[in-house]
Symmetry: C2
Subunit: 427 residues, 2 copies
Amino acid sequence: MQDVATSSRTAETTATATAPTSRAECAALDAADPLAALRDEFVLPEGVVYFDGNSLGALPRRTMAGVTRMIEQEWGQGLIRSWNGADWYPMPHTIGERVAPLIGAAAGQTVICDSVSVNIFKVLISALRMRPTRGTLVSELDIFPTDLYITEGVRRLVPDSQMRLIGRDGPDLESVLGPDTAAVLLSHVDYRTGRLHDMAAVTDLVHRHGALMIWDLCHSAGAMPIELDACGVDFAVGCTYKYLNAGPGAPAFLYAAERHQDSVDQPLLGWSGHADPFAFEPGYTPVPGVGRFLAGTPPMLSFAGLLAALEVFEDVDLHQVRAKSLALAELVIARGDELGLDLATPREPERRGSHVTFRHEHGYQIVQALIEQGIIGDFRAPDHMRFGLTPLYTSFSEVWDAMDAMAEILATKSWQDERFLRQGTVT
Amino acid sequence: MQDVATSSRTAETTATATAPTSRAECAALDAADPLAALRDEFVLPEGVVYFDGNSLGALPRRTMAGVTRMIEQEWGQGLIRSWNGADWYPMPHTIGERVAPLIGAAAGQTVICDSVSVNIFKVLISALRMRPTRGTLVSELDIFPTDLYITEGVRRLVPDSQMRLIGRDGPDLESVLGPDTAAVLLSHVDYRTGRLHDMAAVTDLVHRHGALMIWDLCHSAGAMPIELDACGVDFAVGCTYKYLNAGPGAPAFLYAAERHQDSVDQPLLGWSGHADPFAFEPGYTPVPGVGRFLAGTPPMLSFAGLLAALEVFEDVDLHQVRAKSLALAELVIARGDELGLDLATPREPERRGSHVTFRHEHGYQIVQALIEQGIIGDFRAPDHMRFGLTPLYTSFSEVWDAMDAMAEILATKSWQDERFLRQGTVT
């Protein structure tokens, strides 16, 4: 993978910035930040510095109004009539079209439905059926585990299918691709280290072996420009509750390239994917297009939260988001270097997502000590301390202050306090 | 089916009531209604009489406060910390335990997750795996179509499986059960006609043939006492947005009898069903118990709506609900008889759910003419006019008034007005 990932540069990558070296410089960067006004779009609690937007995005101020309108007006007053009158029925598509520009998808290829896990299932089964003479699904050991679990579920279900994993000390991608490879499922950004795959190069490599490319965009959608169409991607899935700020467990999105849609045959044949759901016919006829990935009735309260959150992105330039994300990360990395922290995230900007991760044997306690001061990052087993950078609301000054706090915690070893011990774990 | 359905009586069935014969009698029944105070728990728009709670339940007044608390406090202020601090993680279980008493389930057998369609998929695959020497799934032609579509999706996926349908002019249940039957999936209440199956008798019959019984409770949960444990049911699924009033597309519930849980092997192996999801292990180990049916991250905005809606049921006696439901239906049926309407719903109380359906060749236009007057029932192809009766907020007086309006519409043939024509249909 390393060879592939570094073999080309994505168009949006900027040169490595020089990180600010004082709080005053940080304040100057904040004052000049073209995205600074977006911070007011979010509720950010007093006394909290939030570096976990890569796990759960902060609450947009407009969410409450959008959800209230849906509940009080559309449901409360409109009742059943709102399925037509408030355009609830087409919402998996209409909201999908609001996600589409964020992932480089032309119209008609993106829907909102189910969870990432369920969508991966639908896409993997479809991929195996589209490559009936090939039985191997390739993924990576360090992908978010639900992707592996779902792949395992598919493998047990489809005779003669198998799973091969790349990464860590295992083989690289090129060495496992072959005439039996049906599809490759990779995470655009690694949930632990923040490593970014080169979408264009990897997709191209997979296609050269006749396989389908499926991207998991959970940790990149909303944090950088993504070009699914331009890269020729076959399928993609992603969540909306990280950098898209749609709320805990908000519905997922699913992208299917137009060229594949009419050959898609996924087994969750729910009525929402039927060509004429209100004909109530006993036989299933899939609707033409990406809608055939829909299954059950869409959850409107959660959809209302998603719709409001996407309004925040309406005039946002994702290239500006990416540039700020990389600059914020440079600051975290530079100060981490000063502290002698073990950086798990690639140093090259073009190989990074929007979070920075350090490894530390006492990472769990250090993260707890930071949280006690209102500085919220998170810990991922076995020893990863993650700091998510959300350019829509993260400032350079607060990164500076957080790294000051980190320096203090490390210098005084205050993380050794017993209240930061992991429950049930002897450290 | 007819033989089975009429062969026994469910314990909660009351004798046929005598329907009121005047509006004054209706007002007296309303005044004596032990459930009358519950009407104030709901937002019911001015000028609307709502008979579609069997499709989308009305908005509970407490929903907005519950959702607001979740969004502003738990998400907005608590941010990522609320997965633990506000007990989001266990919510599929904790809310499941609030549904459990409504369906006659002891603790530890009910979870909230996904949609009905996705849950049927999980249960059907599990059932086939639990009966590896049997390949036939039995359902009924008149079940809500998503059940058939999902069964078809499963059939295509599992080699040597097949689907057999009972009902209408087809065979009855007993004649299709045999040594190859793996499972039977039936709807407790028929979504069009309101016909109620005898859960105890049907489950017993299915078990005598060695097959598993799966009930779809979409059209009965919240409208009557249900006794899953007492009837020895194996699995059940149901939605929460009809008689449970949790909001459009709210998450579904899934019941798995305790005796089966550890042999369940369903293929949607999402991380929420893992024994230790935060260990982030590459291999899947299912959590013990019903939790192994969970897949993706639960949608908390929709969960908040469900939680608030279930609070309404806390002190509700479902036997009282059932008694009022049957009495309301007697009134609809009696007045329909006077109008010469063609009743599609069984006349015997013990064979009815909580909606009453008439067939009429101009049913679509008649329903539209009623809706124009604020009387909201619905139409289901080809010719079914449905009137859902929700004892928590439906009064005898409004049923009386609605049937007056129906009489007027039929007498004057006002439904012939061109604005009630179905778009694109010549009538």
